[in-house]
């Protein structure tokens, strides 16, 4: 049906008025005034034109001004051809070797950024030392030699080769001696290259020279058993360990390995089976090892000999000639007890001595032989090859040099001009040497005396291998192209000796193909490839002979006692030791190590004279007072430090400081103590007698901890004796007593939060932690923790996210000891000697009811649903209230812009050192708070990996940086929601307690009580 509806828009249309009809003819009902606009004032008007120009002017001007802002251009170049194995943002791990120990090198986009312990490494089983952790920073040290030099001027490799080869040929013709002086070389391939070199130049010889020598032990074994080796010790097989000044947990031979072994008899597993080794330490200065001992007796260096003689007498039941009673009653008593216990544990006992004196080591061998240690706790058949320095050979070399018999010398990783006790002889001798070549990668005292410096690669740039313990062969593979124009020392030696193989890589391959791969049952290309993935081969151990000591000890005892008589007297006895952080001083330019607090003294950036508190009082000295120490015709002025446990009448001074030719970091740090060494019976001795003269100056030491006792606060440190523990494992935690439950279910005041998937927590075993501090460096490397330098540490502003608290307690009579400041001041000298030490790693406790979180005005620190306390740096305005309110004082504030402030430029700021930073962790700007994040980047990476692989996260898959590097496995991290996780089990231990748990902050880090194996005899 058609519609006849009509729609109309107005009455005019409906009615069709004439006006409407007329208007409807046009397109627009009303005419548009186009003409008017075009011809009238519209365009010609003055105002619109001017306005237009104004707008135009302003617009152009504004745009121009805005464009004047120079936008910094950061060129980031993508891979033109992306290497197959490199995915930006995803780290690659390569096996390599540090100091004979298999390691993993974490690389990101082709640059190594972190060293991790190799989980299968037979020495430390995944642990790595502070030195290993710090070594990656040396790679990027801008103070390294950037090219070879000749007489101090930069030159090219061709010129150097030309010169050296010409000289060598002339020297060969002249027939004078050629010497290669190195610190111990244990690499089979390097030794091969050196042997080839010697073949080419028959007057050449290789001298192993270690700044800190173990020659006494080697010679002692030669003397006792006819085997000139450094034995391999098995601390894990010893139920009782008696150590005479051997710092085997800190610096002695192979501390990471020994730590692992030692702790295996003291950790949670061992304790739960009611087993714990016992450790008695006799020593002068408080070493890391001594501080971990169950019983520690301070003795002077002069008392060490008589004490060993007394121990021998007590064990053997005979009396060596010349034996006198020991004046030190405490030591005499302890010797009797130790002898009894050692004899009782025959076959499971171990006596070690740190001395480098041959006679002393022979006596120790005799004692160990009586105790049946050979074949059990001491292995002479599979010896350690870590130290092979021969003191006498080196001394002979020095006199050869002085007499002009040496025409060429090559220094490989050796710096005798600094660390030889008579460095003047080196300087004088070198003047008479025609060709002096140093392979040093950084300028050092010796390289500055050489005419050629042929800088070696950093080990992360090198091919190579190593052999720390006989039968254990590890491989080095480069993880980066050489950063500077350096060349591997072996390559240089091969070139100069016209080796038939042209490059060292082929040499290493060859060496492995022909002899080493087979030891691990590998062969050929596939064997090599396997090796590059596993990192090492382990040959079957040599099972060996039995060793019984059968030499006459009379002369030995006489030598020991004579030496002791020489040391004893009115003068102060000086003991020289290696500090855990600096060791022999080769790494002096490494800021991470300089800022690593000494485990015991907590001093950074300095060495000092450690003195007994009673001696300090007697002499009227206070901490930091500078004294002049005169000994062996050499003197240095060093600040003194009151060190509880230091034997009275002695001081201890660390070697490894006072480098003079070194990069800006190490310059002027401490004083050189190596010249206090002396040569005795062909080995270097580490004790001397000195006169002390106060200079009247005071030079405050930069300590990270200045209050040393726990003030009776037993909710921070909890400890018990092994005897008590066996009766009640929860002793010391307070759980068995009338103990209030501070766990969440009893806490009605605060809201409870859900942790649906993960609840990240940590367990730290105080009985496993030795306090070495490797975790501190590992954390700094992982989390880009800035280095602040001595002045700032002095102001108590170090930035470490994890620290090791160290507390002393005095006069322990089984009641926890005297720990209050005012009570300690009243103790007498003997009571002050009787000191116990406890270490406590302290990091953010990730409290479930974190006091820092409630006080932040801007919510910069908040809690995650996985139980972590987060820190949003970008949100932080820096009120520092969170740090004030943190009961554990673990928060660190960026007082300055450590990444762009001239005062800190030597540490991590330059273009190369910045490359070591972990790209997964942002650096923090000044004015921002930071703290332990529980390696959130590692947690995230682990979760993502599991997600990509479509599987649940495995326990132990994510390891914290601190945990990873811990040779003692004292730190366990994991998910509390998983009852089977290692951390849940550790926290379920009866020894578990939480620091300051009565505050109700619900910390996420549980500690296990410290257990001391103290028998009733000495209590």
């Amino acid at each position: 049906m058609d519609s006849n509806k009509k729609y109309w828009k107005g009455l005019e249309e409906l009615n069709k008025t004439p006006e409407f009809v007329e208007l409807n003819k046009h397109e627009f009902a009303e005419p548009i005034p186009i003409e008017e606009v075009l011809t009238g004032g519209g365009l010609e008007g003055r105002t619109p034109r001017r306005d237009f120009l104004k707008a135009l002017g302003f617009g152009v001007g504004a745009v121009t001004l805005a464009a004047c802002q120079k936008v910094p251009v950061h060129k980031s170049l993508p891979y033109l051809i992306k290497p197959e194995e490199v995915t930006p943002g995803v780290p690659n791990y390569y096996v390599s070797t540090y100091d004979g120990q298999a390691i993993l090198v974490k690389t990101r986009e082709g640059r190594p950024i972190k060293i991790e312990g190799h989980p299968n490494d037979i020495l430390a089983k995944g642990g790595a030392s502070a030195q290993a952790q710090a070594s990656v920073l040396d790679l990027y040290d801008t103070n390294r030699f950037q090219s070879p030099t000749k007489n101090g001027a930069e030159t090219g490799w061709a010129q150097v080769d030309d010169f050296v080869v010409r000289e060598l040929l002339a020297i060969k013709a002249g027939g004078k001696k050629i010497r290669i002086v190195s610190s111990t070389v244990s690499s089979p391939s390097t030794l091969g290259v050196i042997a080839d070199f010697i073949k080419q130049f028959p007057t050449a010889a290789h001298i192993n020279y270690d700044a800190v020598s173990y020659n006494g032990i080697i010679k002692g074994n030669q003397n006792s058993f006819g085997k000139a080796v450094l034995p391999h010790y098995n601390f894990d097989k010893a139920d009782i360990i008696v150590s005479f000044a051997a710092d085997f947990l800190g610096t002695w031979i192979s501390p990471e390995e020994f730590t692992r072994q030692y702790v295996s008899n003291r950790n949670i597993k061992s304790l739960e089976s009611k087993k714990m080794s016992r450790h008695i330490q006799f020593e002068t200065g408080m070493s890391l090892t001594g501080s971990n001992a169950d019983v520690r007796i301070p003795i002077k260096p002069s008392e060490e000999g008589p004490a060993l003689v007394a121990l021998y007498n007590a064990i053997s039941g005979s009396t060596l000639p010349g034996t006198k009673t020991i004046d030190n009653k405490v030591a005499a008593n302890a010797i009797t007890i130790a002898a009894k216990e050692l004899v009782a544990a025959k076959g499971k006992a171990l006596v070690v001595a740190g001395s480098n004196d041959v006679a002393t080591q022979v006596l120790v061998n005799a004692i160990n032989s009586l105790l049946g240690s050979y074949g059990t706790t001491i292995d002479l058949d599979n010896p350690s090859l870590q130290y092979a320095g021969n003191d006498a050979e080196f001394v002979e070399f020095v006199s050869d040099m002085k007499s002009g018999a040496v025409d060429a010398v090559f220094f490989l990783n050796a710096n005798p001009a600094y660390d030889y006790y008579n460095s003047k002889d080196i300087a004088d001798g070198l003047k008479k040497v025609r060709l002096k070549v140093s392979f040093a990668s950084n300028a050092d005292e010796t390289s500055s005396l050489c005419n050629i410096v042929a800088p070696n690669h950093h080990y992360l740039e090198s091919w190579g291998d190593d052999n720390a313990i006989s039968g254990y062969y590890t491989v080095l593979q480069p993880t980066i192209n050489p950063v500077y124009d350096t060349r591997q020392a072996e390559q240089s030696l091969m070139k100069w000796s016209d080796n038939p193989l042209k490059d060292y890589y082929s040499y290493v391959r060859n060496n492995w193909n022909t002899s080493l791969l087979a030891k691990g049952g590998l062969s050929g290309q596939s064997g090599w490839e396997t090796l590059l993935q596993t990192g090492f081969v382990k040959a079957a151990p040599v099972t060996g002979g039995s060793y019984t000591f059968a030499k006459d000890l009379n002369a030995v005892a006489q030598t020991i006692l004579d030496h002791s008589k020489e040391l004893a007297g009115d003068k102060t006895e000086v003991q020289l030791y290696q500090s855990v952080a600096m060791r022999d001083g080769k790494r002096a330019n490494n800021p991470w190590l300089q800022e690593l607090p000494d485990p015991v003294s907590k001093v950074t950036w300095d060495n000092f004279a450690a003195m007994a508190p009673s001696d300090m009082k007697r002499k009227g000295l206070v901490d930091g007072d500078v004294v002049k120490i005169d000994a062996n015709g050499y003197s240095v002025a060093l600040p003194v430090l009151s060190q509880p446990g230091q034997a009275q009448g002695t001081i201890s001074v660390a070697v490894g400081y006072g480098r003079t030719v070194v990069g800006p970091v190490g310059k002027g740090v401490g004083q050189n103590a190596f010249p206090f060494y002396s040569l005795r019976n062909g080995t270097f001795q580490t004790s001397a007698t000195a006169t002390l003269t106060p200079t009247g100056d005071n030079s405050p030491l930069a300590q990270t901890q200045t209050h040393h006792s726990i003030e009776g606060r037993n909710s921070i440190i909890k400890e018990a004796t092994f005897v008590e523990y066996k009766k009640n494992p929860a002793v010391g935690t307070g759980k068995s007593e009338d103990h209030k439950d501070y766990t969440e279910k009893n806490n009605l005041f605060w809201q409870k939060y859900e942790r649906p998937t993960y609840d990240w927590v940590m367990a730290i075993d105080l009985n496993a932690c030795t306090g070495c501090g490797a975790c501190v460096v590992a954390c700094s490397a992982e989390n880009n923790v800035p280095v602040v330098g001595k002045d700032e540490v002095k102001r108590r502003r170090e930035m470490h996210w994890i620290r090791i608290d160290r507390y002393y307690s005095f006069d322990d009579k089984g009641d926890g000891g005297v720990t209050r400041e005012h009570a300690i001041a009243d103790l007498n000298t003997d009571q002050l000697d009787h000191v116990k030490v406890v270490y406590q790693p302290m990091l953010c406790q990730h409290c479930d009811h974190a006091p820092c979180e409630t006080v932040c005005p801007v919510l910069a620190t908040v809690h995650s649903s996985e139980g972590l306390n987060h820190m949003a740096y970008n949100r932080c305005v820096g009120t520092r209230y969170c740090a004030n309110n943190c009961p554990y004082k673990v928060r660190r504030f960026n007082w300055f812009n450590y990444w762009n402030d001239a005062r800190f430029e030597n540490y991590l700021q330059n273009d190369h050192t910045l490359l070591v930073l972990n790209p997964d962790v942002t650096t923090r700007f000044r004015g921002v708070m930071e703290k332990c994040s529980m390696c959130i980047q590692r947690i995230q990476a682990g979760k993502l990996k599991a997600k990509i692989e479509k599987r649940p996260l495995k326990d132990g898959e994510i390891k914290m940086a601190c945990q990873q590097t811990c040779s003692a496995n004292a730190i366990v991290f994991g998910n509390r929601n998983d009852p089977d996780s290692e951390v849940s089990k550790a926290l379920a231990s009866e020894r578990t307690y939480y620091v300051l748990e009565e505050l109700g902050v619900q910390p996420g880090v549980g500690y296990q009580t410290k257990i001391r194996n103290i028998s009733e005899l000495e209590a």
Binding site: Q705, T706, H707, H708, S709, I710, E711, G712, R713, I716, E792, R795, R796, R797, E798, R803, D805, R806, Y807, H822, Q840, M842, P851, T854, V855, C856, P857, V858, L859, R875, C876, V877, G878, T879, R880, Y881, A883, N884, N885, P887, Y888, K889, R891, R892, F893, N894, W895, F896, N897, D901, F925, R926, G927, V928, M929, V995, L996, L999, V1001
Partner: protein, 490 residues
């Protein structure tokens, strides 16, 4: 108020014989309408040098970072928050005088409220500068404000006492400023009416077109009363909240429920001491002895004595609770104030605040101007140390002994503090040059009833009991601005 006769036994609030409204105006406006004297110039030069030092020290801090102060990993606040709380405390007397004393009809406040309020505002400004400058990233100082933003759903933490503090201080500052300015209006109009040229223009803008009509006065009085009502809770709230900056923490020595009343009393204590310090000098230099009389001085001394004693009781309570709680950390913190390395700071705190103020029980001391002046300064030194003790001594040795540390101020710390005093005095000295330092209009209110001349007239009228007159005359002997021999003759 002005019409009735006041009891003769009340001491006069205005002394002098021929005080008229005009006389008051002339006396009070003398420094505003004339060139400053030598004393002012010397004072101003010193103060502005101090202010320059402040500008330099604060700029240095901004440029290099908070590290230029002596703080460390253990002591995260020291001179900064000490200075902040000290200034906020000083800023308490003004509002107390203007608000609470107004509500309680304490007419003697009329002579001192103007300066006290000005002092409050300047002190709060000094305190606020610390709030900003102590931040690690001061350019983000606006983040603790709950502003809408584009950072995502980021809001402030209403649990944090620092956020409460931001509200408390900003509210206090704005209300104090409004109250002070409202009170100034009639006086500004007086200056305007007497001024010429450019000054007249400026003051006429500043006086908001005050006409002086009855309706204006009525509204003025009402507004003042309302503002007094608003300000009164603020007097108590501000320092309560400042105290919560500490009290809500876990820190032994801070975690104390007594803090709010203790801090408020302490604030009034230090505020009155600062008023005393300033007015004793001002009245002498500007010749205002007739308006700020011995009665005022003694009344303020009495308040100082009262609040000082409250503070003393609070100290004792703290020690008792520390003992009674059995909390080992708290016990140690309080013992540490006497036997720790900062024992001298503890002694300054307790000595200046408790022992010295107890001297005020003696009338001779209360009415002795030099001693009062010295004691008022002693009180503020003591109150500075109180905050230093609470903040630094508590922090430097708290729970974990490994982190115990000492705090040593740097020269920047000292400069910021000394400079803030310079800033304060610069502002105060400028204030007495351009604004009436006594509320003229309010003083005029009581001229007819509470002045010495009104009382004399009353005596002369002869209707009073002789005993009361004698009592009155006796009370006049302490006034330094009254010539007592006149009465002896009569």
């Amino acid at each position: 108020m002005a019409s009735h006769s006041e009891s003769i036994i009340r001491e006069p609030l205005i002394t002098g014989k021929d005080i008229t409204y005009a006389q008051i105006t002339n006396d009070v406006l003398r420094p505003v309408e004339n060139m400053p004297g030598k004393a002012w110039w010397i004072g101003f030069s010193v103060a502005s040098l101090g202010a320059c030092l402040w500008v330099f020290a604060v700029s240095y801090t901004f440029w290099y970072g908070i590290g230029s102060w002596g703080l460390n990993k253990t002591v995260g606040w020291a001179w900064d928050i000490t200075g902040f709380v000290w200034w906020v405390g000083i800023g308490h007397a003004g509002t107390l005088i203007s608000a609470i004393l107004l509500l309680f009809r304490q007419n003697w406040r009329n002579s001192i409220n103007r300066s006290a309020e000005a002092m409050t505002i300047f002190a709060v400004i000094c305190a606020a500068t610390y709030v900003v400058s102590h931040m690690g990233r001061p350019w983000l100082a606006y983040w603790p404000l709950p502003l809408p933003n584009q950072f995502g759903s980021i809001w402030v933490n209403f649990n944090s006492p620092l956020v409460w503090d931001v509200f408390a201080i900003s509210t206090y500052f704005s209300v104090s400023l409004v109250f002070w300015y409202t009170g100034l209006l009639p006086d500004l109009a007086t200056i305007r009416d007497r001024a010429t040229g450019i000054r007249r223009k400026i003051y006429s803008v500043l006086s908001f077109g005050w006409t002086g009509s009855v309706k204006t006065w009525q509204r003025f009085e009402t507004v003042c009363l309302i503002l007094a009502g608003i300000s009164t809770p603020l007097v108590l709230s501000v320092h309560t909240i400042v105290s919560m900056d500490f009290a809500t923490s876990l820190e032994p020595g801070w975690h104390t429920t007594i803090f709010p009343p203790y801090f408020v009393a302490g604030a009034i204590f230090s505020g009155f001491a600062m008023v005393q310090t300033l007015l004793l000098v001002t009245r002498k230099v500007l010749g205002l002895e007739n308006y700020i009389t011995m009665f005022h001085i003694e009344a303020m001394n009495k308040i100082i004595l009262l609040t000082g004693s409250i503070v003393g009781v609070a100290y004792l309570t703290e020690f008792f609770i520390a003992y009674y709680s059995g909390g080992e950390y708290e016990q140690y913190t309080f013992l540490n104030r006497f036997i720790g390395p900062y024992w001298w700071a503890g002694c300054m705190m307790y000595g200046c605040n408790v022992l010295m103020t107890q001297l005020m029980w003696f009338k001779k001391i209360r009415t002795n101007i030099p001693i009062s002046w010295v004691l008022s300064i002693v009180v503020n030194i003591g109150m500075w140390f109180e905050r230093f003790v609470i903040i630094v001594i508590s922090l430097h040795r708290d729970f974990v002994p490994s982190s115990w540390a000492m705090f040593y101020p740097t020269w920047i710390d000292v400069s910021v503090f000394v400079g803030s005093i310079g800033l304060f005095f610069t502002m105060f000295l400028l204030f007495i040059r351009v604004l009436p330092s006594i509320a003229m209009a309010e003083v005029k209110l009581i001229l007819k009833s509470s002045s010495e001349q009104a009382k004399l007239k009353l005596i002369k009228s002869g209707h009073l009991e002789g005993e009361q007159v004698e009592f009155y005359e006796e009370s006049l002997t302490k006034f330094d601005s009254v010539d007592i021999t006149d009465y002896k003759k009569a």
